[in-house]
């Protein structure tokens, strides 16, 4: 009986042998770099049966198992389809040695023998993301330049700033509104206070509101976000105070409409044709509505000044508004308007950033050209790779 069973079993295993799947080979594991020690990167060589073009396919995929060094807690940590040679297990614990196995999966229940890791791997926690070290240097350079020039300006180093047409027109626009006895409209865009263009827009609002208070005109600020309304109220109130006319501040003129883009726009266009503002300011983030606003403003004869960092909307503002602050000019506006030396210094810092960009571009393209002419394996090529992948990339890993 025992013998018979044994015999039967051997026939079974012989059958399995015939149809056995080849296991993948050469399983290797390394600690995933620059993480908190929860990941291990696995690589292997595909099973010889793994042929994506074979019909029917022999290997459908792979299963990856992880266990502790003593074989405990063995569990499947992932499956990958055929043709894939790598996997990252991200559910490890830092400092614990693990063993991994991988098996080929065929049709139905068919499984290969496992390929095992030769020696255990221990994921390690890294405290600093080294792949971002060069990026850190760039951040320090750019921010350092801004801070340096801000400091220099504070100590009385005069800064030249070129003209930005749209900004000089603010006084003109407000003055015109005063003369015509019509209101000014300020639209701070669609985004919330967590977006920097909105903050830049609010900075411009501070200046516009101050001019309006000085001229004794009215300013309406409908917003699409409650937080922007809160901030805009603080700003307008402060500007009235700064203009020496705290009594002209009216909270009701800074109000919330709706978070929905086109409901906000429907209200704004309605407002424009009914109240006919003489000056419209758009500063912040704008999307599709830019053209509806600018065309409606144009049709009621308002003088329009726009500024946005949304490149896709710039053509419409450029075409339909009187003045447009293009991209970076929006961020430069508050510095320019304040005329404070410190703020103007920051503009010089931004220019230093552009010089850095230009220098990197020229050096990089020169290297790339040299590398292209010199062919493979030239020193230029390795320098280019270092520049692109290490300095401007992610250190090659992580």
């Amino acid at each position: 009986m025992v013998l018979a069973l044994w015999g039967f079993g051997s026939i079974e295993s012989a059958r399995a042998q015939d149809a056995a799947l080849a296991a993948p080979t050469g399983l290797k594991a390394v600690d995933h770099p620059n993480d908190v020690g929860t990941s291990v990167d696995l690589t292997w060589t595909l099973s010889v049966d793994d042929n994506a073009r074979a019909q029917p396919r022999v290997v459908n995929g792979y299963e990856i198992y992880r266990s502790l060094v003593d074989g405990d807690e063995r569990e499947m940590v992932g499956e990958v389809p055929y043709g894939v040679e790598k996997f990252t297990d991200q559910q490890c614990t830092a400092g614990v040695p693990y063993l991994f196995e991988i098996i080929s999966v065929g049709t139905g229940e068919q499984r290969s023998e496992p390929a095992r890791l030769a020696k255990p791997i221990t994921p390690i926690r890294q405290w600093i993301d080294r792949s971002r070290a060069w990026f850190g240097v760039i951040v320090v350079l750019v921010c350092g330049a801004v801070i340096l020039f801000t400091r220099l300006a504070r100590f009385g180093k005069a800064t030249y700033v070129r003209e930005i047409a749209g900004l000089q027109a603010i006084d003109e626009a407000v003055g015109r509104a005063t003369e015509m006895g019509r209101p000014c409209l300020f639209v701070p865009g669609l985004q919330d206070m967590n977006e920097i263009p909105t903050v830049a827009g609010i900075n411009i609002l501070a200046r516009v509101a101050r001019t309006v208070a000085e001229y004794d005109a009215t300013l309406t600020v409908p917003t699409a976000r409650s937080l922007v309304m809160t901030s805009a109220r603080e700003t307008v109130q402060a500007s009235c105070l700064a203009a020496g006319r705290p009594e002209v501040y009216d909270e009701n003129l800074v109000y919330y409409v709706s978070d929905e883009q086109f409901a906000y726009v429907a209200h704004l266009t309605g407002y424009m044709v009914r109240e006919r503002p003489a000056a419209c300011f758009y500063a912040g983030t704008f999307y599709a509505e830019s053209l509806i606003l600018a065309e409606t403003g144009n049709s009621v004869g308002a003088l329009q000044i726009a500024g946005t960092a949304e490149a896709s909307q710039l053509p419409f503002f450029v075409a339909a508004c009187d003045y447009t602050l293009i991209g970076e000019e929006l961020f430069a506006a508050s510095a320019y308007l304040s005329r404070e030396p410190q703020q103007l210094g920051s503009l010089k810092g931004q220019d230093a950033g552009k010089l850095l960009a230009g220098a990197l571009l020229i050096v990089g393209c020169a290297l790339a050209t040299w590398a292209a002419l010199a062919g493979n394996g030239s020193p230029a090529e390795s320098m280019l790779v270092f520049l692109k992948d290490t300095i401007l990339g992610r250190g090659g890993a992580g």
């Binding site: 990026f135 760039i138 951040v139 750019v142 921010c143 030249y160 070129r162 206070m193 967590n194 977006e195 920097i196 903050v199 937080l227 809160t230 901030s231 603080e234 409409v257 709706s258 978070d259 929905e260 086109f262 409901a263 429907a266 209200h267 309605g270 044709v273 009914r274 490149a311 896709s312 053509p315 419409f316 450029v318 293009i326 991209g327 970076e328 000019e329 430069a332 320019y336 503009l347 010089k348 931004q350 220019d351 950033g353 552009k354 960009a357 230009g358 990197l360 571009l361 990089g364 393209c365 290297l367 790339a368 050209t369 590398a371 292209a372 002419l373 280019l384 692109k388 401007l392 990339g393």
Partner: protein
Amino acid sequence: MNRETLGWTVVLLIGALGLFGRAMSKPEGMGKVYIKAVRIAPDSPTDTRTTFTKVEPKDSEAIVSVPRTVGVWIAALGTLAIFSFLYRDNVFYKLAESVFVGVTAAWAMVLGFWESIVDKLLRNLAPGLMRAWALPGLSDKQEPNYLYIVPLILGIMLLWRLVPRGAWIARWPLAVVVGTFAGLKLVNFLDADFVSQIRNTIIPLIVVVNGKVDPWASLRNTGLLVGVLSSLTYFFFSVEHKGFVGNVSRVGVWFLMVTFGASFAFTVMGRIALLAARVEFLFNDWLWLIDPGDKRPKGW
């Protein structure tokens, strides 16, 4: 009644009569929405509740839904009301605008309540209570995360504005928001836009393919580099745009104009598509003049 009002009243009357005539004269009518009943839990033996889902009129179990048919008519009239603004501001547009603002503002609040307050804040502060109430699928393993008391406190500070005294308290959460995101955006923008775009622009000015110089590709790459550098020059603030710098920045402006021209052309394309979709809604879903998807049986 002046002449213009009279004229528009006549136009509206004729339109209404036309619609009525069309709805009556055709056997299949127009602007109807069909539904059928389906079980909420089709696999459950005990839960026999049903709900309705939209089907095409071809479906044998299809019945006309009154709320949805009314809906299609309201949607169509709303569409026309908004379009009427192109002629000029009028009572229909004002009505549509008022409804639109009210509905969307409330919608934002509702969404904020269910998705942020319930699903984010209360889920973390009181998971047990939420499991029993609105989030039954919440994992049993979820423990309270008391770190979320911080946004709760910040939120309450924000609402302090509604209290007559000490409105300045609301500035603190505002400062947290602006400060946090200023830090976050600083690194994100420098990484993804500044560094990445420089990296993408590092290209050989002379392109060699199989040992031969490719003049067109070389010219293209050179043009790209010149474009980026000259456009960057336009953005220089602390240098007077005269002489050499002036000429370079002028070339930069041309590149920017090419960019804007391309953007404009692409946008035209998209906007027409949106209008086409609205017109199709009017012709297809409301008036039943066309049937592009072959969804209604012919002539019944």
